[in-house]
Subunit: 250 residues, 2 copies
């Protein structure tokens, strides 16, 4: 039997507001559409609904921009209050050029605008990334277990750009229940030679697989990846973070 798996979008999740129970919304929506959660499912959840439920929203009117934010904003034609929020969410500016602000977030992710996003939130409000996406993922996993008695894996995902290639891809920014990297180091190839430097970012590949049914308009903010065996682990997303000292592009 060839290996095969399925990806199923989860429709019918209502607009999420601060304090909502995202795990219950997902469980209800999967039941309502006739695809209830089964053991071993990976649930890939767009960051935005997690951030909204956790109240990670900031009204621009409540932000007083610093001098450096105002200076950067004037150079790039952007709202200085938005730049202020991006800088507060960052521990390091990686590149600032051509109207683009790429920073390293407090979690260690490198992305445009520290993941701060104005889409699919109220006008004059922005959404931040979850404060601790691995903790968010663990909490969702536990609540889903208590609601369904099913053991699942969780990915909190966001779409990031990357150097050298056009287009965003969905990647994992938090996860629970499986190992995000898969190593082939030490295994032998068809010529009997040990494979070197072969570690796959399965968490990011899962996030990308899910994105293909999720869409950007928040109508399908969750997808189920079903039927793929993963390595259980409690290590969270940290193995995906490259040590800045080993990074040639930071």
């Amino acid at each position: 039997m060839p290996p095969r798996y399925e990806v199923i979008g989860v429709d019918g999740i209502p607009e999420v507001r601060p304090g909502d129970d995202v795990a219950r919304l997902i469980v209800d929506a999967t039941r309502a559409q006739g695809t209830p959660i089964v053991a071993g499912d990976v649930l890939v959840i767009g960051q935005k609904i997690v951030s909204k439920a956790e109240g990670r929203l900031v009204r621009l009117a409540d932000v007083a921009p610093s001098a450096i934010a105002t200076s950067i904003a004037s150079g790039t034609g952007r709202d200085p209050r938005l730049v202020e929020i991006i800088l507060r969410e960052s521990r390091r500016v990686v590149r600032m050029d051509k109207g683009v602000l790429i920073t390293e977030t407090h979690h260690g992710w490198v992305c445009a605008n520290a993941g701060v996003d104005q889409s699919n939130v109220d006008v004059d409000t922005v959404a931040l990334l979850p404060a601790d996406p691995d903790a968010s993922a663990r909490g969702l996993r536990e609540t889903i277990r208590s609601l369904t008695a099913r053991e699942v894996a969780i990915i909190i995902a966001d779409t990031f750009g990357r150097p050298w290639r056009e287009g965003l891809t969905n990647v994992a920014i938090g996860l629970a229940g499986f190992a995000p990297l898969k190593s082939y180091i030490g295994e032998l190839d068809s010529a009997g030679r040990p494979l070197s430097a072969t570690i796959l970012a399965v968490a990011d590949e899962l996030a990308s697989a899910a994105e293909l049914v999720m869409g950007k308009l928040d109508r399908i903010p969750v997808a189920i990846v079903r039927g793929l065996p993963l390595t259980p682990s409690e290590e969270g997303s940290k193995p995906l973070l490259r040590d800045p000292a080993r990074d040639l592009f930071r």
Copy 2:
């Protein structure tokens, strides 16, 4: 009905040799395992078997390293003949540090070692990327159409590293039959605001989805992605190439 799709590994493809008909091998293998190709399938094909079939193999014994290749090799502890091949496959060195050689290939892809790879080929031989992966994809698509009377899309894929994140992901280096980018620009979000800067690299997400069943040991060098509607296009992979003038990391 929620959107859903399936990914199916294609097992039982024999060791590929120069001159082999990869399209026929794939058609035969999909039939033999009981998952014959249907219209609309995306076939994601690992670069290695395409390179082998096209004879894109070089014996190290046949290579005389240049002075610069010898110099780079002595600084990194690598085989000067391998470095020579990497430089011949490159039009630009992007980074050379910490034992890593990242170059821009003649196609425009930025990756480690110009995609030159020693795994799963005979000892003392290396495999190059296909000379024109879009042409390879078009040819495979046409042959599959003539063998099956089915219209499919093709991705030639390889696993590349990326800055900032650990682990490789599978990406498209050549394709035929669909648009590699999906743009949401101009569509309205839930607050009625037009989305900006939202273009998804669906070709790379498809390659990543396929990798999850392909594995690195060449036992499953092909996967079918089935049930996902794509936008027909003849533009090939070029839209995935970022213009170096717009790239902050080159």
